[in-house]
Symmetry: C3
């Protein structure tokens, strides 16, 4: 640890590596690991058996990792569940909730007051706005943008690779605009744009861009009406 945190509550078998800074009134559950360089704000609560500050990794036949010296930053008042994994280079703003078993990759930004559900996964280079809700088991692929106030239902799936591995480095995730809502288990294809306040029905497969305030359902998703 690099500082002398005031009022730290630390469980058993907690591992805190070098150059970790911790604010006031932080609690860290049993068996949690805080890796090198992580910066934790005030009033942060972290559950048991988490691993925070993971360095990106891979094998020779995977997407190139950009060397990243940035730390994991967790701002004030954020709450993190149990068995959560978060990478070095993620920026977790204030008053965020991250559910148990969730995983957040490097170079991800999560805006204030957002909720990341249990076992939800946010891949690298994605940007989540303020006041978003990402529900349980939802999958935010890499290179995705969620503007503010977006609702992602449980088990929603996205992809960012049109060529399914056949071509390299042409990855583009969805862009979901302010206030849009995606129903549970919907599938969203690479590069799709979903308009402001648009609504996508549960189980839909979105293959085309959706305009603002449109309601789309089905496989493939078709417009059924526009909000007034």
């Amino acid at each position: 640890m690099s500082n002398n945190p005031i009022n730290l509550s630390k469980g058993n078998n907690v591992v805190i590596e070098e150059r970790v800074s911790i604010g006031q009134n932080v609690s860290i559950g049993h068996n949690t690991v805080i890796l090198e360089g992580t910066k934790i704000g005030d009033n942060v609560k972290i559950g048991c058996n988490c691993v925070l500050g993971i360095k990106a990794n891979g094998t020779s036949n995977m997407r190139q990792i950009i060397e990243n010296e940035r730390s994991l930053v967790i701002k004030n008042d954020t709450k993190i569940g149990n068995m959560v994994s978060i990478y070095s280079g993620a920026f977790i703003s204030r008053n965020i909730f991250i559910g148990d078993h969730a995983s957040i990759r490097e170079n991800v930004l999560i805006g204030e007051n957002s909720v990341i559900g249990r076992a939800a996964i946010i891949e690298l280079n994605s940007k989540i706005g303020k006041n978003c809700t990402i529900q349980t088991l939802a999958y935010i692929t890499g290179d995705t943008t969620l503007e503010d106030n977006v609702f992602i239902g449980p088990c929603v799936s996205m992809s960012n690779d049109k060529y399914m591995g056949a071509k390299k480095y042409s990855l583009k995730g969805p862009h979901i605009k302010d206030g849009a809502k995606i129903g549970n288990n919907a599938s969203i294809l690479p590069g799709i744009i979903i308009g402001r306040k648009a609504i996508i029905g549960a189980g839909s497969v979105v293959t085309k861009d959706t305009s603002d305030e449109e309601i789309m359902v089905g496989v493939p998703a078709k417009k059924i009406k526009t909000l007034n």
Copy 2:
């Protein structure tokens, strides 16, 4: 620990907090955390790196937590895998199997002889009957009822929020009756009732109630026949 358990097998780095009671012939794997107040019966087997007895938590913009002084109760002969999270206020009956990476929330009841698959998630206030099978990665949303002998295939998704976060506290999960079977990756909408022994095909999106013994498939799911 509040008692002196007979024939306890305890791994390394196990954390057992105050007021935990443990029956006879219990085994607890390495690095598992048993939080305050948890009650464990006889012949229970718990894997490694679990967190059991978690207290509910949240931020200001999430559903209100009901203060809950009830313990996590795990009855005799139940087997729990590795990296499982279970909340305080869940009641796990006897002879249940809970797979690795599964997560069970507060105020959930699981009936005897049921099987909860690997990485399956059961949200708060849900009731699972006896002899149910919930397969891998299935998602049981909050406020759901499964009667006895229900089969939930892998990756099934449910939701309980018709308004996707736009209105507060009007949550209602599905009600799935005795002996119904739900195929893999089906999506079930909020408040849907699925009849006794009904069968829902894989990948279906269930938007309307299903009568007893009906077979429904497709998006949206339509009746293709009734069992004789």
Copy 3:
């Protein structure tokens, strides 16, 4: 440990049971558990809070476990993330990447250079070829075969039980041939054969066998064209 590994980097609170063998230049993260009999090759990197070498388990109303004295084998140059669970009797070839929160069961073979995504699950008795990519949260059911160079998109779901628990032991997973690509969140039914280089669209439900080089989309999936 059964040997004296050269250049082992071992985190805090690591548990290594009896009869574990470890090659040269291995690193093991904090709080990871290596269970009895596991065999680890050279240049293997293992993250934090993993459980490796798990013995199969179950309750009386689950599929019979075949007694299996085989070890977990992890060959050279393989990289394993954090909070990963792998069973005894799995064979992990060389230069494989296994993402965080993934789970691999007993009697699974994974071929060289394959990538197993974050939170992906591979059930028992499945065989994954060489150079396969299984993306995040994908579910490979039991008794499945993936030949070489197969791409499984994120959140793909499979099943191996036509009768959804109503009959016992008639399980058969999909067989996916060389170079086939499965789009995100597609559902594949028990025993389905997908031909060489076939492409299945995102969100499709595959209910019939697919010939070589066919492109299939929809619910149920229908052929839209054949690759030249």
